[in-house]
C-alpha cells in the first residue's frame, strides 16, 4: 500500500483526533475500521475526498454534538452511511437490518468463537 494515499484523508478530515506524530487516534477498534473503510472507498474512486469532507462536515456541524467531541467517530459513521446510501450502494433499511442482525449474531456467539453474521439465529 502506498502511504501517500492515506495522507489525504488525514489532512482533509476536519477535527480528526491525531497523535503528536500526526497519526489518527482511535479510541475503539470499530473507529479504526470505519476510518479504514472510508480510506479504501476513496482509493477505489467510490467518492472523491471533497464529497467525503462535505458529508463529514454536515454531520460534525449538526447541533447536539458532545462538548468533548467523543462522538467524532459516531459522526464519521453517520457520514459514511449517508454517503453510501446517497450513492445507492445500499439503503438505510438494509443497513438497519444488517446492524440488528450483527447484534443478534454477537449475542448468540459463545466466547472463543468468531462472531459471524451467520450466527444470527434469525438470518
Amino acid at each position: 500500500m502506498s502511504t501517500c494515499k492515506t495522507t489525504s484523508p488525514l489532512a482533509a478530515s476536519a477535527e480528526l483526533p491525531k497523535s503528536p506524530e500526526g497519526d489518527p487516534v482511535f479510541a475503539e477498534p470499530w473507529q479504526a475500521s470505519a476510518f479504514a473503510m472510508t480510506v479504501r472507498l476513496h482509493e477505489k474512486g467510490v467518492f472523491s475526498w471533497n464529497e467525503w469532507a462535505e458529508a463529514l462536515s454536515a454531520e460534525l456541524y449538526k447541533p447536539g454534538r458532545k462538548a468533548d467531541a467523543s462522538d467524532y467517530f459516531d459522526c464519521w459513521v453517520a457520514a459514511l452511511s449517508r454517503l453510501v446510501t446517497e450513492l445507492s450502494i445500499t439503503s438505510n433499511g438494509q443497513l438497519d437490518t444488517l446492524t440488528k442482525s450483527w447484534q443478534r449474531a454477537a449475542e448468540a456467539t459463545p466466547h472463543g468463537k468468531p462472531i459471524l453474521i451467520e450466527n444470527d439465529p434469525l438470518r
Binding site: M1, T3, T6, S19, E21, D23, P24, V25, F26, A27, E28, P29, W30, A32, S33, A34, F35, A36, M37, V39, R40, L41, K44, V46, F73, D74, V77, L80, S81, V84, I89, T90, Q94, L95, D96, L98, T99, K100, S101, W102, Q103, A106, E107, A108, T109, P110, H111, G112, K113, P114, I115, I117
Partner: protein, 214 residues
C-alpha cells in the same frame, strides 16, 4: 438464552452473554458486510490500512499501568491483588466494567494471553488488537504450542521458563506485566511507559530495552 447454552466450561458464575456489540460496532459491521458483498472493499485491504496505525496509536493506558508497577512496589502489590481497582485508580475503566487481572512475568514464568475472536479484548487498556491476533489459527496454536508461536514472533524463551497461557473471557481480561528491562534505573515513569509495547502486554513480546528503542 442462558449461559448454559454456551456449552462452555469456564467457571465464572452467573455470566449472561459472552458477546455484545454496541450500536456503533454493529453499524460498522453492517457497513463492512454490505460493502464487501458489493465488492467495494475486502477485509485484507481494510486490515492492511488498520495495521499501519495499530501499533502506533491507541490508548497507552496499559503501558502507564505497567510503568507504575515497575516503580511503585505498593502499586504493583495492589495490581497483583486487585487489578480492576488498581487500574481504575488511574482512571482507566473498561467499557462494560469487565474485570482485569494482571499476570506478572518473572524469571521462571512467561505469560501469554489469547482470544480476541469475540469481543473480549481489553482495548481500553491495551489499545487496538493486532490483526493477526484475531486469526483463529493463532488462538488454537497458542494454546497447543505457545513456545512455537512465540518463536514465530521472534521471542525465543529458554526451555526452563514456563509459559502460562491465559484465555480471556467476557468477564475477566488479562494484562501481562512484562519484566522491567535492565539498564532502566534512572528512567522516569513516562520514559518507562514508552518501553512497554502492546505486544509485551499480550505476552508475544518483551518490553523494549532503552537501546533497542533508539
Amino acid at each position: 438464552m442462558s449461559a448454559h447454552d454456551h456449552g462452555h466450561d469456564h467457571d465464572h458464575g452467573d455470566h449472561h452473554h459472552d458477546n455484545h456489540f454496541t450500536d456503533m460496532e454493529a453499524r460498522v459491521k453492517a457497513l463492512e458486510t454490505v460493502l464487501t458483498e458489493k465488492g467495494l472493499i475486502d477485509l485484507a485491504a481494510i486490515d492492511a490500512i488498520v495495521e499501519t496505525y495499530e501499533t502506533k496509536i491507541g490508548p497507552r493506558n496499559g503501558a502507564r499501568v505497567v510503568a507504575k508497577a515497575w516503580v511503585d512496589p505498593d502499586f504493583a502489590e495492589w495490581l497483583k491483588r486487585d487489578a480492576t481497582a488498581a487500574i481504575a485508580s488511574l482512571g482507566y475503566t473498561g467499557r462494560q466494567g469487565e474485570h482485569m487481572r494482571a499476570v506478572f512475568n518473572t524469571a521462571d514464568t512467561h505469560n501469554l494471553v489469547v482470544c480476541t475472536l469475540c469481543s473480549c479484548y481489553p482495548w481500553s487498556v491495551l489499545g487496538l488488537p493486532p490483526v493477526w491476533y484475531k486469526a483463529p489459527p493463532y488462538r488454537s496454536r497458542a494454546v497447543i504450542d505457545p513456545r512455537g508461536v512465540l518463536a514465530e514472533f521472534g521471542l525465543t524463551l529458554s526451555e526452563d521458563r514456563r509459559i502460562r497461557v491465559w484465555d480471556s473471557t467476557a468477564e475477566l481480561r488479562y494484562l501481562v506485566v512484562p519484566e522491567r528491562p535492565a539498564g532502566t534505573d534512572g528512567l522516569s515513569e513516562e520514559e518507562l511507559a514508552d518501553l512497554v509495547t502492546r505486544d509485551s502486554m499480550i505476552g508475544t513480546g518483551l518490553a523494549l530495552s532503552p537501546e533497542t528503542q533508539r
